[in-house]
C-alpha cells in the first residue's frame, strides 16, 4: 500500500469517527487519565510531605524518586506483571490483562514524576513562605494546602508531563494489558501491532491523534506557566 493512500484512509478513520477507532482512542484516554488522577492523589501529598519533612535518609529517598522518573516503561510493566501474574503476590485479584492492570502500570510510571516535581516546587515555596506562615500560626502539615494551591500552575505542568509520558508509552501497557482486541488495545500498542501487520491506515490515524494529543498537552502546559507567571510576578 502506498503512503498517500494510507494517509487518506487514516484521515477517513479520524473524520468518519470509526467505531473501532474511537474505542481504541477512548480506552487509551481513560487508562491514562485514571493513572494520572491516581498519581496526583498519591503523589501531590507525598511530594509535599517530602518537601517539608526532615528525616535521616531523606536525601536518599529524593535521589531514588528522581531516579525512578527515568524508569523504562517495559521494566515498570515487568514489575507489575510479576505482581499481578497468577503466581504473583496479587495474582488472586485476577487483574492481569485487564484495563485496570494498565492503569496500575501507568500509575507506577507517572507517580515518580508527580512526587519529584511536587517536592521541588513545594520545597522552594516553603523556603519563601515559612516565616510568614509560622507568623500566622501555620506550621508543618498545616502549611501543605497553602503551598499546593500557590504551586498550582507548576504542579499542573508536572501532571501534564506525567500525562505525556503515560500516553506515549507502549511497553508497560503491552506487557500487563496483553493487547487484546476490543479490550486492552490502546493507541500505542495498536500502532506497534498494526505497523508490523502492514495495516498502515489504522496505525497512521492513531499516530496522528497521538501527535495532536501531545501538541495539546504542550499547549496546556505553556498556558499554565503563562498564567502562573502572572501570579508569580
Amino acid at each position: 500500500m502506498d503512503i498517500t493512500a494510507a494517509f487518506s484512509e487514516a484521515l477517513q478513520l479520524i473524520l468518519g469517527a470509526d467505531a473501532k477507532f474511537l474505542q481504541i482512542v477512548g480506552l487509551s484516554l481513560r487508562v491514562t487519565l485514571t493513572a494520572v488522577l491516581l498519581a496526583a492523589l498519591i503523589g501531590l501529598p507525598l511530594g509535599a510531605w517530602l518537601a517539608i519533612s526532615r528525616f535521616s535518609g531523606r536525601a536518599l529517598v529524593i535521589v531514588f524518586v528522581n531516579g525512578l522518573m527515568g524508569l523504562p516503561p517495559v521494566v515498570a510493566g515487568l514489575v507489575v506483571f510479576l505482581l499481578l501474574s497468577r503466581a504473583g503476590p496479587l495474582g488472586s485479584w485476577g487483574l492481569l490483562f485487564t484495563p485496570t492492570a494498565m492503569v496500575i502500570a501507568q500509575t507506577v510510571l507517572v507517580l515518580p514524576i508527580v512526587i519529584a516535581l511536587t517536592r521541588g516546587t513545594i520545597e522552594e515555596l516553603w523556603r519563601e513562605y515559612r516565616e510568614h506562615l509560622a507568623s500566622l500560626g501555620v506550621n508543618g502539615w498545616r502549611a501543605v494546602p497553602t503551598l499546593l494551591w500557590d504551586g498550582r500552575f507548576a504542579l499542573a505542568t508536572g501532571l501534564l508531563a506525567g500525562f505525556g509520558r503515560a500516553s506515549a508509552e507502549v511497553g508497560a501497557v503491552l506487557i500487563v494489558g496483553g493487547n487484546i482486541a476490543n479490550y486492552t488495545r490502546t493507541m500505542t500498542t495498536t500502532i506497534a501491532l498494526e505497523t508490523s501487520k502492514g495495516d498502515l491506515p489504522l496505525a497512521l490515524g492513531l499516530g496522528i491523534v497521538l501527535m495532536a494529543l501531545t501538541l495539546l498537552i504542550n499547549a496546556l502546559a505553556f498556558g499554565a506557566s503563562r498564567i502562573g507567571q502572572r501570579f508569580a510576578g
Binding site: 506562615l133 507568623s135 500566622l136 500557590d150 501570579f231 508569580a232
Partner: protein
C-alpha cells in the same frame, strides 16, 4: 493584679540567641508596656531582626525568655501579636485572596472588606499581589496584619525598600495604628524615621542593648559613646 484583657506587658529577660556556637544577640532585657511606638535601632548585624523574631516566637532563644502577660501571647485563644516582615511574603494570589488566606488560617479579627477600604486597596483587590508596587505590597502586608486585630505589631524595617512618597504613606498608617492603641515594636535603619515615629528607642550594638531611652532624650543627648557616634552618622563596627 494583671490586666487579663491584655497580652502586655512583654517581659524580655536575659534573652540570647546564638548560631553555630557564635553569640549573635544578648543577653538582652527590657519590658514592653502597652501603647506607643518603640524603635529598635543600631548598625547592621546588631541583632535587630533577631530580637523581633525572638519576641514574635519564630525562633527559639539559646537562653533567657520573652514572656507575655498571657500564656503564649494568646488572648481568647487567638495570637495577640502579628508581624510584618522586611520583604513581606506575597502569596501567588490576588490582593484580596492574600487577606482572605490570613483570615482563614489565623482566625478573623476583622473583615476583609474593611481592611481593603482602610488601607486604600479596594482598586487593587483583584490584582495579583506579587505584581503590586513595593508601597502597595507593604500596605497589603499591613492590612493583612491588621485583619488579625493584633494588640502588638512587630515591624521589620517597614519602609526600607520604599521611595519617600510610599514611606510617608506607611508612616502615616503606623501613627494611625498607634493612635488607636496598637503597640508597635519596629526596627529601622532610618534615624529620621525613628525620630518621626518613636516614643522610645532601643539602641542595639553588637547584640547588646546599649541604650533604652525616651526617643527625644536619646536623640538630644545619647548617654553612651557608641550611641553618640551612631546618631552623629559615624560608622560603627
Amino acid at each position: 493584679m494583671r490586666d487579663l484583657a491584655s497580652i502586655l506587658p512583654l517581659r524580655v529577660e536575659n534573652l540570647a540567641f546564638e548560631a553555630e556556637g557564635k553569640a549573635l544577640l544578648g543577653p538582652v532585657s527590657f519590658k514592653l508596656p502597652k501603647g506607643g511606638i518603640t524603635a529598635i535601632i543600631g548598625p547592621n548585624g546588631a541583632g535587630k531582626s533577631l530580637l523581633l523574631r525572638l519576641c514574635h516566637g519564630l525562633i527559639a532563644p539559646a537562653s533567657g525568655r520573652a514572656e507575655w502577660a498571657t500564656e503564649g501571647g494568646l488572648l481568647a485563644g487567638r495570637k495577640g501579636h502579628a508581624m510584618v516582615f522586611q520583604r513581606p511574603v506575597m502569596l501567588r494570589r490576588s490582593a484580596r485572596a492574600n487577606l482572605q488566606h490570613a483570615v482563614s488560617v489565623a482566625g478573623a479579627g476583622r473583615r476583609v472588606a474593611e481592611a481593603l477600604q482602610r488601607f486604600g486597596l479596594e482598586p487593587l483587590a483583584e490584582r495579583p499581589a506579587r505584581l503590586l508596587s513595593g508601597g502597595e505590597q507593604q500596605r497589603l502586608a499591613l492590612a493583612r496584619a491588621w485583619l488579625l486585630a493584633p494588640e502588638v505589631l512587630f515591624l521589620d524595617e517597614p519602609s526600607s525598600q520604599l521611595d519617600p512618597g510610599a514611606t510617608r504613606q506607611i508612616e502615616a498608617i503606623l501613627l494611625g495604628l498607634a493612635s488607636e492603641g496598637v503597640t508597635l515594636l519596629m526596627t529601622t535603619h532610618d534615624l529620621g524615621q525613628a525620630r518621626r515615629l518613636a516614643r522610645r528607642v532601643l539602641f542595639l550594638h553588637r547584640g547588646q542593648l546599649v541604650e533604652d531611652a525616651e526617643a527625644h532624650a536619646f536623640f538630644a543627648a545619647p548617654r553612651t559613646e557608641e550611641a553618640r557616634a551612631f546618631v552623629a552618622g559615624d560608622l560603627l563596627w
